[in-house]
Symmetry: C2
Subunit: 582 residues, 2 copies
C-alpha cells in the first residue's frame, strides 16, 4: 500500500495544542492522528485510525490464539441487567444514562459483565458446554469527572473486554493464566514497557486481580515495586507487614495528660517533648484516629467507622476506599459531629469509639503490645502508653495508611520504590458475583446445577495508543514500533527534479509490490518541512531519496536510533524488505 | 482457519423466535448469528460478527479503491454542530439525546454531516487541498418509532457514511459518480440483487440522489420500475407526466349544484350520475381538495395549504411530505377548522382557498383546460365544469397523489410496476447546505473564498447482512455468498468411527493450510442434527465425510443449488480450493 502525502487528509501542526499537557496528547494532535470533538471525546484521522486498527489487530490475534471467541454487543443498553447487579446506581455520575422515546431507561455501556453473563445463560445449559471465553472490541463510555490527556482518559474509548466462564475455581485460574499470557504477548508486540502489578478489584468485586501498568510520568496509577524481588503492586493493593505482637507485661500504665492546644500531631509531639516525660516522642508513637462513615451501596443510613493509623502517616483515601469496597465511604460532616457530641475533634481516642460500639479498625502496625499516644476523648487531653490488647482491642485491621518509598516490601525482600504508570490492561478473577446476580448455572453431570465462576479481562485499546506514544517519542515527534506504525517506510522525495521524483516513485512501487506499507511524501513543499513531518509522524524507517540518487545512493534513517546509512539505490528495496520482516 | 463446532459459541434453534416475522430475522436468530438485547438493539454472536466484518471489509476495500480515506468519529456528540444546522430539533424523537454530569447536551450520532464538515474546515484551507473523500464505518443511533425485523431496522446499527468535498458542481458530480460505481461493485460482491432508483433527499436537503434498493417483500421502501426502459424510482420521487394544456374555449360554464349528503367522492359521483346530467361521471372527473398545514422547521406558526388531486386517487402523505421538504406538514385538527369556519369539510373548493390567499397546489394532471367537479365551498354543494385556467388558477403543482401500478412511466416508455425493497445504500448530492451552515470555504487561486460543495453516501452495513439473508435463503436456512460467508466449507463429520473422524480432520487441516476457511462439525451429535445445522447456517459448500470414506469418496454439496457430488477423497482438497478461488 502506498499512501501519498499529497492527497492524505493530514495537516501537521507546528505548535502544541493549547489544551494539551502531556507529550502523547501534544504529539498525537500535532502529528494529525486525533482531533478533539468535546471533553474526553476524540476523532481519529486517517493515520491515527490506522494505528488504532493495528492495535486492535494485535489484540484480536492474541485473543483468538487462546481460543477466545469474538462477539459484539451494543453500546446502548437497557437498564435492567445493570439494576440487577446494582451497578446502575453504583456507577454514580460516571454512567451516561438516557431515555428513549418511550421513556425507557438506557445507558451507554461502561463494561459488559452483565450482558455477557446473560448471553452465556441464554445459549449454554450443560457442564459440557464449558469453559468458554468470549470477547469484544468495542466503544465504551464513562462520564469521567476529569477527562484528561487526550485519548489517555477519554469518555468514549475503545476497549477489548473479555470474559471467561468456568465450572470451578481451577478452571477460572486456567482461564486467568491464559489471559495473563496473552496480555504479555500483546503488550510485548505493542512495544510497551509494562509491569504486572497486584491490584484490588474495587467496584468490580471479586478476588485475584492484576493490572498491566505502562510506566509513565503522566500515569494516573501510583504503584510500588521491590527491585530485589520483582514484587509490584498497585498502591491500593500493598499490604503492610505487621510486626510480631509483644507481651503487655511490664509496660507502663496508661496515663491521661493535660495537653492544651494540641489538635495536630506535631503540636502534640512538641508538647510532650517539652514536658520532659523522660522519653522522646515522635509522630510514629502517636495513634491518629480518623473518623469516616460507611454504608452499603444504595442504603440510606451511614454508620460511623474509626480508623487508627500511626501519626506519622496520612490516611490514603483511595486505599481506604479499596479496603472497604464495596461499601461507600465518606468523611464526616459538621452535622455528624453535631449529632455525636462525644466525638471530640482532635482528641478522639479508641476508648470512646469502642465503648460506644463504633467499629474501630487499625493499621496492621498496631499489634497487641504496642503502646500509643492517642486522644483521651476530651478537649486538650491525650493518653500516653495506651497499649493495644491491654487497654483497647480494635475490631480488626485495615490498609488505609499511605504507602511510602522505602517501606518494606510485603514479601520481605527489600524496600519499595514508587512509580507512576498508565493502566493498559486489567485481569480479574471475578468469581461468582455476576453469575449469582444472573443465576448462571450449568447442569452438572449429576444433574445438579453448578454455579459458573467468571473472569473479566480488559485492555484499553485506544489508551494503549496513547501509552505507546507516551513511552515512545522524542523531542522531534512520535516513534512507533513497526507492528502498529501507520506505515513501514516513510519515503521522502527530497528534490524537485524528475529523476529524484521518478526514482522515489519507482522504489515506492517496488516496496509496495513486496508488501511493504509506504508513506510517500510526494508533496511540493521543501525538504525541511518533509523531514520535520517525517520525524513528527514517527514511521520507524525513513528513506530519503535526494540528490545522492544521481550517484546511485539513498539514505535510510532509523527513526528509533537516529542512525543514518547510505545505501545503494539498487539495493535499498531488498534492504528495506528484510528490515521490515525482521 | 478451522472453527470447531464442538467449542463454537453457537446454539441453533429449531423454533422461530416469537417476535420474528420476516425470514431474515427468523433465520439469523435461529442460526445463532444475532440475539436481541432490547427493541431494535442486537448483539452479534461469533458467526454473525464474522459476516458483519466480511461486509465491512468489502465496503472498506471498495471505498479505499476510489481514494476515500477512512477516519473515525465518536458516536457521542455535542449538541452544538447539530444545532447549527437545525437537525438537533429536526430529528425530533428519532434522536437519542442525553446530558453529561455537567448538564451539557449530547446526542448519539444518527449521521455525521456536521462533524465531517467541521473536520475538513479544521484541516483544509486552500483550493489545492480539494477534492477529498472521507468515510467511516461506525455505529449509528436512531430512536425509531417502530424498530422491526431484527437488524433490518435497528436503533443501533452499523453504517458506512462517506462525504465528498469538492470545489464545484462538476467535481461533486465526479465524486458522486465514483461512489455510484463503488456501490455497484460493493453490492455485486455482496451478492445482492438491487435496483438503483431515483430518490428525493427528504430531510437531508440537496438535489440529486439515488437509492440502492434490494428487492424484498419485507422491504419498507415502495418503488416503481418501468420494465421497458429500466427507469426506477422511489415512490416519493416519481413524477407525474402532465397531459398537454387544452383550450378553454367552448367548454361549458361552471355550474353549482345542490348535492345533498355527498361528503365522499363515491357519494358525489353516484348522486351526479343519478341526476342524469347527460354525462357519466367517474371519480377521476372530480377534484378532491385536501387541507394540510405547513411550517418552517422550528417555526411556531403553521400556514394552511390546499392540495388538489383527482378524486380517484388518495393523497400519499409520504409523497406530499417529500415534495414539501424541508417544510413540516401536518393534517388539520378540529381546532384549525374551528378557526377557519369558511372551510366547509367535504365541500372545499379552489375558489375559497384562492380567494382567501391560501396556497393551493394541484396534481400535475390538473392542467389548464381541464374541467372538474369539485367543492363549492358550501354545505351540500358542488360545482361542475370548474375549468382550470379559466375559473381558477392554482399556485403551482405538487407530487402528492398516490402512484399506482400501471401508471405511465415519466420517461414515456411504458407502464410502471410496483416493487418493495430494502434501502441498502443512498447517495446524495448535498450541495452547499452543510458548507453554508458551517461556512466551509477554500481559498481560491484568486485568493477569494470558494464555498465547498458536498456529497453524502451511506451504506447500511448491518442492514446489508439482513438484506442478503432476506434475498438468499430457502426453507432450510441461510445461503451466504462466499465473499461474506462465515466460512468457505462446512465439513460435516458424519460418523463416529476413528477413520471418518481423522479423515475429516485431515481434510480440514489441508484446506486450512491452503487458506480455505473451514467450519468443522466435530460434535458428538447425530448426522441428522449436523446436516440440519449445516443447511441452517448456510456456508456455501458443505463437505460430508462419512461411511463413503472407506471406499475413498466424500460428498460435496452446493448449498445454493442443492447439487451433491461424490468426489474422490484424495482429490477433494484440490477440488474445494479451486471452487473457493473461482
Amino acid at each position: 500500500m502506498i499512501t501519498r502525502m499529497s492527497s492524505l487528509f493530514l495537516r501537521t501542526l507546528r505548535e502544541d495544542p493549547a489544551d494539551a499537557e502531556v507529550p502523547s496528547h501534544k504529539l498525537l494532535v500535532r502529528a494529525g492522528y486525533v482531533r478533539r470533538i468535546a471533553p474526553g471525546i476524540y476523532s481519529w484521522l486517517p493515520l491515527g485510525y490506522r494505528v488504532l486498527r493495528n492495535v486492535e489487530r494485535v489484540v484480536r490475534e492474541e485473543m483468538d490464539a487462546i481460543g477466545a471467541q469474538e462477539v459484539h454487543f451494543p453500546a446502548l443498553l437497557p437498564k435492567e441487567p445493570y439494576e440487577a447487579t446494582g451497578r446502575w446506581t453504583e456507577y454514580g455520575d460516571s454512567l451516561f444514562r438516557l431515555r428513549d422515546r418511550k421513556k425507557a431507561d438506557y445507558l451507554l455501556g461502561p463494561t459488559h459483565e452483565e450482558l455477557f453473563t446473560l448471553m452465556v445463560k441464554g445459549e449454554y445449559s450443560s457442564y459440557k458446554d464449558y469453559p468458554v471465553i468470549l470477547y469484544q472490541i468495542q466503544n465504551k463510555y464513562r462520564d469521567e469527572e476529569r477527562p484528561r490527556a487526550g485519548i489517555l482518559r477519554g469518555r468514549e474509548f475503545v476497549m477489548k473486554d473479555a470474559y471467561s466462564f468456568d465450572l470451578d475455581d481451577e478452571g477460572l485460574k486456567r482461564s486467568y493464566e491464559l489471559h495473563r499470557e496473552a496480555y504479555v504477548r500483546i503488550f510485548d508486540r505493542l512495544g510497551l514497557e509494562y509491569h504486572v502489578v497486584s491490584a484490588v478489584s474495587g467496584a468490580m468485586g471479586g478476588s485475584a486481580s492484576e493490572e498491566f501498568l505502562a510506566p509513565a510520568e503522566v500515569g494516573e496509577d501510583t504503584y510500588v515495586r521491590c527491585l530485589e524481588s520483582g514484587y509490584a503492586a498497585n498502591v491500593e493493593a500493598v499490604t503492610t507487614p505487621a510486626p510480631p505482637a509483644r507481651p503487655v507485661e511490664g509496660l507502663p500504665a496508661a496515663e491521661v495528660h493535660n495537653t492544651p492546644d494540641t489538635p495536630t500531631i506535631q503540636s502534640l509531639v512538641d508538647f510532650l517533648n517539652a514536658a520532659e516525660l523522660g522519653r522522646v516522642f515522635t509522630a510514629a508513637d502517636t495513634l491518629k484516629n480518623v473518623m469516616v462513615k460507611t454504608r452499603q451501596p444504595g442504603a440510606e443510613e451511614w454508620e460511623l467507622l474509626g480508623v487508627g493509623v500511626p501519626g506519622d502517616r496520612e490516611v490514603d483515601f483511595k486505599r481506604l476506599e479499596a479496603s472497604l469496597a464495596p461499601l461507600e465511604v465518606a468523611l464526616l460532616e459538621e452535622a455528624d459531629f453535631a449529632a455525636n457530641p462525644w466525638l471530640v475533634k482532635g482528641y478522639i481516642g479508641p476508648k470512646a469509639l469502642i465503648g460506644r460500639g463504633v467499629r474501630y479498625l487499625v493499621d496492621p502496625r498496631v499489634v497487641p503490645g504496642t503502646a500509643w499516644v492517642t486522644g483521651a476523648d476530651q478537649l486538650d487531653h491525650h493518653v500516653v502508653d495506651l497499649v493495644c490488647g491491654r487497654d483497647f482491642t480494635p475490631d480488626g485491621t485495615i490498609e488505609a495508611a499511605e504507602v511510602r518509598e522505602g517501606d518494606p516490601s510485603p514479601d520481605g525482600a527489600g524496600p519499595l520504590v514508587m512509580a507512576r504508570g498508565i493502566e493498559i490492561g486489567h485481569i480479574f478473577q471475578l468469581g461468582r458475583k455476576y453469575a449469582d446476580a444472573m443465576q448462571l448455572d450449568a447442569l452438572g453431570p449429576d444433574s445438579k446445577p453448578v454455579r459458573i465462576t467468571m473472569g473479566s479481562y480488559g485492555i484499553g485499546v485506544s489508551r494503549a495508543v496513547a501509552a505507546i506514544a507516551e513511552q515512545r517519542h522524542d523531542e522531534l515527534g512520535l516513534v512507533w514500533p513497526r507492528e502498529i506504525a501507520p506505515a513501514d517506510v516513510h519515503v521522502v522525495v527530497a528534490g524537485k527534479d524528475d529523476a529524484v521524483r521518478s526514482g522515489a516513485e519507482g522504489i515506492a512501487a517496488e516496496l509496495d509490490a513486496a508488501g511493504v506499507r509506504v508513506l510517500l511524501d510526494d508533496r511540493t513543499v521543501s525538504p525541511g518541512v518533509k523531514f520535520a513531518d517525517a520525524e513528527l509522524i514517527g514511521v520507524p524507517t525513513i528513506l530519503v531519496v535526494g540528490r545522492g540518487l544521481a550517484k546511485g545512493v539513498v539514505e535510510v534513517k532509523d527513526r528509533v536510533t537516529g542512525e543514518r546509512a547510505e545505501v545503494a539505490a539498487d539495493e535499498v528495496v531488498a534492504h528495506l524488505v528484510s528490515l521490515c520482516r525482521s
